[in-house]
Symmetry: C3
Subunit: 229 residues, 3 copies
Amino acid sequence: MEPEFDDLLLLFQAVIQWIAIILSASTGVYDARRHGLDYFGALVIAAIVAVGGGTIRDLLLGRYPLFWLQDPIYLTSIFIVGIIGILLIPISTKSNQSDSSHSSGIIQPVIRLMFGTSGSFALIDSFALGMWAYLGTLYALTSGIPPVIAPIMGIITASFGGVLRDILFAQIPEVFRPSQFYALASFAGACAYVISWVLNLPYPSGFIACMALTVLVRMTSIKYNITSF
Amino acid sequence: MEPEFDDLLLLFQAVIQWIAIILSASTGVYDARRHGLDYFGALVIAAIVAVGGGTIRDLLLGRYPLFWLQDPIYLTSIFIVGIIGILLIPISTKSNQSDSSHSSGIIQPVIRLMFGTSGSFALIDSFALGMWAYLGTLYALTSGIPPVIAPIMGIITASFGGVLRDILFAQIPEVFRPSQFYALASFAGACAYVISWVLNLPYPSGFIACMALTVLVRMTSIKYNITSF
Amino acid sequence: MEPEFDDLLLLFQAVIQWIAIILSASTGVYDARRHGLDYFGALVIAAIVAVGGGTIRDLLLGRYPLFWLQDPIYLTSIFIVGIIGILLIPISTKSNQSDSSHSSGIIQPVIRLMFGTSGSFALIDSFALGMWAYLGTLYALTSGIPPVIAPIMGIITASFGGVLRDILFAQIPEVFRPSQFYALASFAGACAYVISWVLNLPYPSGFIACMALTVLVRMTSIKYNITSF
């Protein structure tokens, strides 16, 4: 494998991760304002949706220092996104708890806000989902976690930011409720990566398999409205 | 102390711990389905009730790697219990939040499901409670925690899986509400173990004292309906 | 700097920290009883309000062992405050969830209980707030966290005990809702300390600047009822 390809892949990963953080943070601030939170609550929710899943993963693995405490780029980006969101989105005065229509995944609000209802955003989001699954599984394996357990870290990285958000909203987490496959998509991708790791396949194949399977499962469940049970 | 006895005790502990995890996971999946969660939510709740208390203990003590990340037997057992539970128990369609009758302890639902209302299950559960109290206190002492504080880790190990479950159900934790002694029973057992540790009594006496006192306090409070205040 | 002055400052800090823990614990036990919790719930809430923010900070920084697991003075003090509170305050039988009037900050109930409605208590509380902000920021900087990120740890130390309390009450955290500046006051103080650290100013100036700015922002927002948005 030539170093040029490796560098390109790392750059690509960094860009995707940064996009995923920006997207997650913007959905967080939107949800926070809709739930009547002030600027501080909105910033905290934005940060938690963006880096909360990765933080739980690193606490469970004992991976110190935490990535967002080492490099200010993550929190700075979240802060800028949060401030823009706070200035643009007024605090909702509607009854906060009564929105019974819980959307699937964490990005439904942003779809409406930024992209109308087009499916192109769902595709981008499922790429981010695959990326989180990839990063979480990779970090678990390099930390010496048994391969059978490693996909759990992929799922936690992808889902538990949203779980923490819903805990702070005093709601049962959306990702635990029947809806289109979200956790399962990240699990499928994580398993694909673990298999490529165990078989010792050349580097980018595991990453590509993880992304492809996550996107495939997620988009298929959305297109045909296949829901969890 | 002969090695044969030691090995038997370790085997006995491992069996009790495994039983406790299986029981906790089955109560978790039952509660999750009753609260309208899908398969993913049910698996997460099952895992959290089974290993959540021990995880909080280990995070506070800095004991890495976490026990359930080292040996796949724990998560595999929980997974099998969870899948069986998901296939057997349909998602409840009743209003989820309105069940105001919170039962005492975490095992009431399984009592009805598996054992009718017989007291034999409550006895088994109080053995598990004592086992968690013993393990938590032992780990705290071997981590160099002052003996005065060590029982806290026994209580956390025994109770905080249920606390995390109730947080995810967006409810005030059951174990914090007036009911028969649950935390107090594990505290009594933990204190008994600490005393045996400080007095440097021969090994199995502390374990036996912890189990006996936990079971005694728990069963007495159930039999005579003595509740916390 | 003479050693005498240093010793006096450390003593002063220890006293303030101990006062802050006592105050936080007493508000915790009061809130817990008002929400219908039994003795165990009240003790847990008292401990979480008092040391929960610092615990989250230390878990994120990987600072082991945790301060309250090393020295029993903290938990012993909380335990005594908790027991007194439990004996004095009966469990509220009113509907727990329906108190929609969320007070600003964590100390409103104790104000009424102990001090009437006088502003002198608010002043003491804002000193505690500044102290937490100072300690959190200092620990972050000495752990090698970039100065840009360090104030986050000050805010977390000051605010997240109350966030954990509200999670256990199954409520959206008060500090995330529009009210007088609380998190912002601790942020201002934390930033003042970081600036003094970066400029390498002589030791007590950063501490004094942090305290002064926190108290100023907090008391100004209370006096003129300036609320977050």
